[in-house]
Amino acid sequence: MNDKNKIIAGLIIFFVVLLFPFWFNLIFGAADAATAPEPELTDKAKQAETCVAETDYMRTEHMQILDQWRDMVTRDGKRIYKAENGKEYEASLSNTCMDCHSNKEKFCDSCHNYTSVDPYCWDCHTYPEETE
């Protein structure tokens, strides 16, 4: 009948598991974990000033554009993408996107790693070698 100790032990275990984020970040976390990584722009990207769309739009929808491009190129054979601003781009991850954003580790990976996103773009596509 007197299971008070067992119940309290169970309650403590539950709370410890529940509060995982708090103690995990305290022990293993980086000090600046609450600051999002800033994707680094190459000189070429800075000079171009605008991407194929607005920055805020690109932040959330870039995967949609890439998906659209893939279907366009591989299924319809169309290589030319007309952007909202009227400019025309070649629809290609390796040749267009990564022409400016050639620093995969500091551009793509910085946010992807931070939010544990694991895109399978580079299962097939190659990316430019990082140069020091």
Binding site: G10, P21, D56, M63, S116, P119
Partner: protein, 334 residues
């Protein structure tokens, strides 16, 4: 329309609108993004502990055997070990099966009339168990997956679960099976309550409200990922701020939908200790599940019985032996 689910639905929709307007138009991001989540967690911790400690005080002096299987008896009668456990080990197995597989829900019967409309029939119905299993496990996976927003670096088991959950590799962003199953499970449980007349009759707003709230959480979550995307990096900035006690609202827009999601989750978390959702702790304390059925082998004495004055036959005989002998009555001791 049934008032019980109408009110719950309206309540959830209103709360969603309040948080959307609050964060999007009124600039109350700090309230909905920092203050309410922390408050909800505090309410949950105190409320949950309070409830469990309150339950701890309820004495359970006797076994409560439920007739779900043959109890341990004579050696030639087959003992059903897990439905009527006798030892602590067997009880542990029954509890594990109950908590992980919801075996009680498998005993769900539907009463009705047979083809002739006269004879009462009992049909075994598996749906409640199936929907509950879908719902609970997908919810667990979704909660674990959300640790990617609350831990930096992201722990290996979260990445592992994401891999398995996203193994279909369809849609973009990659579809997580658990999210869809969670919404389906919760919706099916709701439909069950709404469409079966006998269930509507016994359902209260307290049954519908959490269901609508969870459906709201699932819908906003799926929307943020697949439809009207929010900036996930800024989201993690905010949640990591919460997890490291350096709360801040990141610069730039996150999107009102995120605040609705967070507000719904905060509400759910704060609501748990005061609702039927406490079954997450209560299931461990179910007396009909967690006690061995050994009343026939062991005597369980109620510990707060007051001492009863007894007068045994031996004592009686001692008192009256001479008189009994005189009257010619048989005595046990000479």
């Amino acid at each position: 329309m049934n008032a019980a689910y109408l009110y719950s639905l309206i309540a959830v929709v209103l709360l969603g609108l309040i948080s959307y307007a609050g964060a999007e138009a009124a600039g109350l991001e700090v309230l909905f993004g920092v203050i309410i989540p922390y408050l909800a967690l505090i309410v949950f911790l105190i409320g949950f502990a309070n409830k469990i400690l309150d339950w701890t005080k309820s004495p359970v002096p006797f076994r409560i055997p439920t007739t779900m299987g043959q109890q341990k008896s004579l050696p030639w009668i087959k003992h059903n070990k897990f439905d009527s456990p006798y030892t602590t080990g067997q009880v542990v197995i029954r509890m594990v099966l109950e908590i992980l597989l919801f075996r009680s829900l498998l005993k769900n019967l539907r009463t009705g009339f047979g083809k002739d409309g006269q004879k009462i029939t009992y049909k075994w119905v598996v749906w409640l168990w199936l929907f509950a299993l879908m719902f609970h496990y997908s919810f667990l996976v979704v909660v674990i997956r959300h640790l990617r927003f609350f831990a930096e670096p992201v722990p290996f088991f979260v990445t592992m679960i994401e891999r398995v959950d996203g193994m279909l590799q369809i849609m973009l962003p990659n579809l997580f099976i658990s999210g869809v199953v969670l919404l389906a499970g919760a919706s099916l449980l709701l439909l069950r309550r709404v469409l079966l007349p006998k269930l509507v009759y016994i359902s209260r707003p307290a049954d519908f409200f959490p269901l609508f709230l969870i459906i709201g959480i699932a819908v906003t979550g799926l929307m943020m990922r697949y439809v009207s995307k929010v900036d996930v990096v800024r989201v993690k900035e905010l949640t990591m701020g919460l997890a490291t006690f350096q709360p801040s609202i990141p610069e730039g827009t996150i999107g009102g939908l995120f605040y609705v999601h967070l507000f719904f989750v905060s509400l759910l978390v704060a609501y748990i200790p005061f609702s039927k959702l406490m079954h997450m702790g209560g299931v461990f304390l179910s007396p009909t599940r967690n006690l061995p059925n050994n009343s026939r082998a062991k005597r369980h004495v109620n510990p707060w019985n007051y001492p009863v004055k007894t007068h045994t036959y031996e004592e009686y005989e001692d008192d009256f032996r001479d008189k009994m002998k005189e009257a010619g009555l048989p005595v046990e001791k000479e």
